[in-house]
Amino acid sequence: MTTHPELETVDMMLNMGPQHPSTHGVFRMVLWIDGERIVDMEPHIGYLHRGSEKLCEGESYGQVVTLFDRLDYVSNFNNEQVFCRAVERLMDIEVPERAMYIRTILCELNRVASHLLFLGTYALDAGAMTPVLYAFRERERIQNLYEAVSGARMMHNFIRIGGIKEEVPADFVPRVRQLLGELRRGVEECDNLLTFNEVFLARTRGVGVIDSDTAVSYGLTGPCLRASGLAYDVRKDHPYEIYPNVSFTVPVGEYGDCWDRYWVRVQEAYQSLNIVEQCLDQMTEGPIMPQMRRIARPPKGEVYVHGENPRGDIGVYLVSDGTDKPYRLKVRPPSYCNLTALRHMMKDAFIADAVVILGSLDIVLGEVDR
């Protein structure tokens, strides 16, 4: 075929989403492409905007927990925990030790469940059908435990200001121990299936690279930041609840590409299982709620609390005016901040890699739009 240099070429605009299955929700992006290369892209969010922050101002503190369930709907416990910690800090409540251990066990298992969901769907994004079946089978075991503990598979509303809703079932400890054994095997199975698969490596190695300085400037946190080589983990840098009592390592990537982001998450799942095991060993009997007023009414003041979510660093800035409803509540959503770097990662990438890069960020749109 002959080329005609005198012919004018224009970048083609391509719309992707919001109903595209690989966008993990309702996310739309507009890509400008030159042949196979992405010249520029623009993300469009807001399809799931419910005004959660404003809604919080009309609900009492106890009710706000239910709204936090609906932000990041695949790691509900972690969301509930960070909000309750903010209120507890403002009211100076000492959480009973047993409640903290149960919270941590549930949160860390939630991290494993979330990473398993990522592993399965990310493999789908990269063109592998099988791992999603394995990952969902393992995730189902965790969901069954949640159902036994809180009565719900997704919107638990289990962590309360000051402690937890109720005592866990009598067979909780042996059941979690058995679950740990099953999950270790299960995560390893998924890991073996996908991590060093040659096709998967070819799809993800060196794709969507972001260096640590740029990542910090964009406000990336969680696995996305650690993949770029910076070992920042709230559980280590600002330990909260019982994290000072447990030992774990923070897996760190090398190049900041899609494979590193994937690998960091898989390693984190193993670490979370270790944390759960240590919690089971250290946990003692005791109360699960402190002596406190039934209606939380924090004194005037403001507080900023953040914690490690499976997706990154979730923060809550809470302003109280002394009533039983928050005056202003701002959520710092990790997915939202991670998504801002998408444009940087996608520049000059192949159009076929767009889905792989987006998937590696592991966004949850409920949290991005709020």
Binding site: K54, T214, G219, R294, G301, V303
Partner: protein, 203 residues
């Protein structure tokens, strides 16, 4: 309400009692219904105290931003300083580039509506050193204007767009303050306290 304010010793037993006490309130006519917001807590608020790490951070902040600081305070290891809008960029740049503070990440940006004035709150964080600090800027509600920090942090781009959309805060120097999360054609600033939102009629 007084029943509920008592410390609860046995939640399982007292829960039905509390529920029984609440029923007459629900049935009261709409005109006699108490104000939507419960009265403030009578207890004295505990003073906000900084720990030793927070004191060190505050000392560093005061040293680099001394002429610009209007007020300061903090809780735990997160100190806050208040500056004027015109000196915000300078203070933020010094925070970011200081070797010991190393506040390289703009962690969170929010606007609080205090009806007579708006407050922009910038939470800064160092992923390497672990220091945290908060910058606050008060601006009048009728002319909410602060300089944009997009030149310092790329993360400021979306944060500022969102806050502009929800609170009408003007970020001077922002390259593109187009709507981000609300639907096209939405009018008003839903984040503001004056926006009618919680006063809908239930049916």
């Amino acid at each position: 309400m007084t029943e509920q304010d008592k410390p609860v010793s046995e939640p399982e037993e007292s829960a039905p009692e509390g529920a029984a006490d609440e029923t007459p309130q629900v049935e009261a006519p709409a005109s006699a219904r108490p104000a939507r917001r419960a009265p403030p807590h009578e207890e004295e608020a505990p003073p906000e105290v900084l720990n030793s790490r927070g004191q060190t951070t505050l000392g560093l902040l005061m040293r680099i931003a001394d002429p610009y600081v209007l007020a300061h305070g903090g809780r735990d290891d997160i100190p806050w300083i208040e500056t004027r809008a015109q000196s915000l960029i300078e203070v933020a740049r010094r925070c970011r580039d200081h070797r010991d503070l190393d506040l390289k990440m703009l962690h969170c940006l929010l606007v609080v509506d205090y009806t007579e004035h708006l407050q922009a709150v910038y939470v800064l964080l160092s992923p390497v050193k672990g220091t945290r600090a908060i910058l606050k800027v008060n601006v009048p509600a009728d002319e909410p204007k602060v300089p944009s920090l997009t030149g310092l942090w790329r993360a400021a781009d979306w944060y500022e767009r969102e806050m502009h959309e929800l609170f009408g805060m003007e970020f001077e120097g922002h390259p593109n303050l187009s709507p981000l999360i609300l639907y096209e054609g939405f009018e008003g600033y839903p984040g503001l306290k004056s926006f009618p939102f919680n006063d809908y009629n239930e049916f």
